[in-house]
């Protein structure tokens, strides 16, 4: 297992801390007055997404985290779990609802997702940033109301609820940002 010394510390490094994988999102060298050299880092948990502040001294080091990402296709639901397939190896990892997190609400058959593995265990999954989805239910909009700053709730084919402008109707296709859950635009075919 490789080790990163403080002189290797930089943004984007994937490291292990107390048995969990983190990504370094910030690293600043500070040396106050007559004090010792310190590396002030921000570490984001690859599992929980929470951010830790940690300060290291110059002879400290961190274990590299064995993290890899791969593109996999969503196949089907098996009980509570979600089954994916690696298109190269045909491996079929199963992810629990906890591992899926918020991404579950964007899944439809055949969707390509990015799965993060830590020590060969899947730990998180991201849908593509943008998806085009069909609206399966929307309150009818009041006739003549074309204001774009008024929104209503619509349900899309994957089951997610999205705030959409008043002019969106059932059967329309809309583009959404899966990171924020926000409506982007109506898609005309």
């Amino acid at each position: 297992m490789s080790v990163y010394h403080t002189s290797d510390f930089r943004k984007g490094l994937k490291v292990e801390l107390e048995g969990e994988p983190y990504i370094m999102t910030e690293c600043n060298f500070v040396k106050p007055g007559k004090g010792q050299a310190l590396y002030k880092c921000k570490l984001k948990s690859l599992i929980k997404g929470s951010v830790l502040d940690r300060t290291f001294k110059s002879d400290d080091s961190l274990q590299a985290a064995d993290v890899r990402e791969s593109q996999m296709q969503y196949l089907y639901r098996s009980g509570d779990n979600f089954v994916f397939m690696d298109p190269d190896t045909f491996d079929q990892p199963e992810l629990t609802p906890e591992q899926m997190g918020d991404t579950a609400k964007w899944l439809k058959d055949g969707l390509n997702c990015n799965i993060v593995f830590y020590n060969e265990r899947p730990i998180s999954v991201d849908a593509p940033n943008h998806l085009v989805l069909e609206v399966v239910y929307a309150e009818p909009g009041a006739r003549g109301n074309t204001a774009t700053n008024v929104t209503k709730t619509a349900k899309v084919e994957t089951g997610a609820e999205v705030q959409v402008p008043i002019f969106i109707n059932q059967g329309d296709k809309i583009k959404v940002d899966t990171r924020t859950g926000e409506y982007i635009e109506r898609v005309r075919e």
């Binding site: 060298f29 007055g33 007559k34 004090g35 050299a37 502040d53 940690r54 300060t55």
Partner: protein, 318 residues
């Protein structure tokens, strides 16, 4: 391949010309006030002994030498020899210091004014710096006041356990045993970020345990404190000054203690600076001295973001 052109300077020629003009302006500031410019060696058999300053040592023609981490020792030997008030632009080299605000080799502007108190020196520093950059003087605080205000902790009274607890909850990844290491971490983590960003701010009267080569006195509350100050400009540490300690015994003890701290952190010990200590036996005139990080001064004055914007060839391309 899209390699950066590392043979080119990282600073623009316009910035380097402006840097040169600031150096000339600073020279005139001192010459107008009766100082003269000295020029001391970069290679010396002795160096400042400090727990957290790591000099580069080398062997040249069989002789052990250190690249100077500041021109302090040589300038004090000149003061003992009767130089009167002196200034110097000196390159200094410190190992292990690299970042947007650190380059291992950097330019110091250091000066000593004979007969000046700490307050007079702070006044001089303020005058010089405001003549080189458009920044207001926004105030000053003692180390203790600033520490108390930002952390709620009294740095003179808190126990080591209280300091260690606070360090741990702030994310210090290791257990520091040394009280000054705990104080320094809290200073960097919680005090420095709260110092005013809009101008010049002085911090004075450091704990006696952080005196370095400054004199130790009693403050108005009867606590021992170091006659030392630091200047922050836009929240960035820019200068470190002392009303100089003239007692060779006190300094010898300080250096020995620093070597003990170096041993604790597995750093090599450094030889006691005998030339300096012998000179002090002869008698250093009452004086105050300060070192200004000139690259940082140029950076702030020209509204640049990192040292590499104002240095022609920083560490990554020299």
């Amino acid at each position: 391949m899209n390699l950066p052109h590392l043979y080119l300077p990282s600073a623009t020629i316009d910035v380097l010309k402006a840097r040169s003009a600031l150096i000339q302006q600073a020279r005139h500031f001192f010459l107008d006030r009766g100082f003269w410019e000295v020029d001391t060696p970069l290679l010396s058999a002795e160096t400042v002994v400090d727990a957290h300053i790591h000099p580069v040592s080398l062997t040249i023609d069989g002789d052990h030498r250190f690249l100077q981490t500041s021109p302090e020792l040589a300038m004090k030997r000149l003061l003992v020899a009767g130089s009167g008030s002196i200034f110097q632009f000196a390159h200094a080299v410190r190992a292990g210091e690299a970042g947007p605000l650190h380059n291992r080799e950097f330019l110091l502007l250091e000066w000593y004014r004979v007969g000046a108190s700490l307050w007079e020196l702070m006044d001089d520093v303020g005058k010089l710096v405001t003549s080189l950059m458009q920044l207001p003087h926004v105030g000053s605080a003692s180390y203790r006041q600033a520490f108390l205000q930002s952390t709620g902790i009294d740095p003179l009274k808190a126990t080591n356990e209280e300091l260690a607890d606070r360090c741990q909850s702030a994310g210090l990844s290791f257990v520091a045993k040394d009280r000054d290491d705990l104080l320094n971490f809290l200073w960097a983590d919680q005090v420095e970020p709260t110092l005013p960003k809009e101008g010049l701010y002085f911090i004075y009267h450091y704990p006696a345990s952080q005196a370095a080569l400054a004199d130790v006195i009693q403050d108005e509350d009867g606590n021992e404190c170091a006659e030392r100050f630091e200047l922050y400009a836009r929240g960035i540490e820019l200068a470190n000054g002392y009303h100089e300690c003239r007692d060779p015994r006190q300094l010898r003890e300080w250096f020995i203690r620093q070597n003990d701290r170096r041993v604790q952190q597995n750093a090599t010990t450094l030889p006691l600076p005998d030339y300096l200590l012998s000179a002090l036996e002869q008698g250093l005139p009452d004086c105050s001295g300060v070192a200004v990080g000139f690259d940082r001064l140029v950076m702030i004055s020209l509204e640049q973001q990192r040292l590499s914007d104002v240095i022609p060839f920083p560490d990554d391309r020299c």
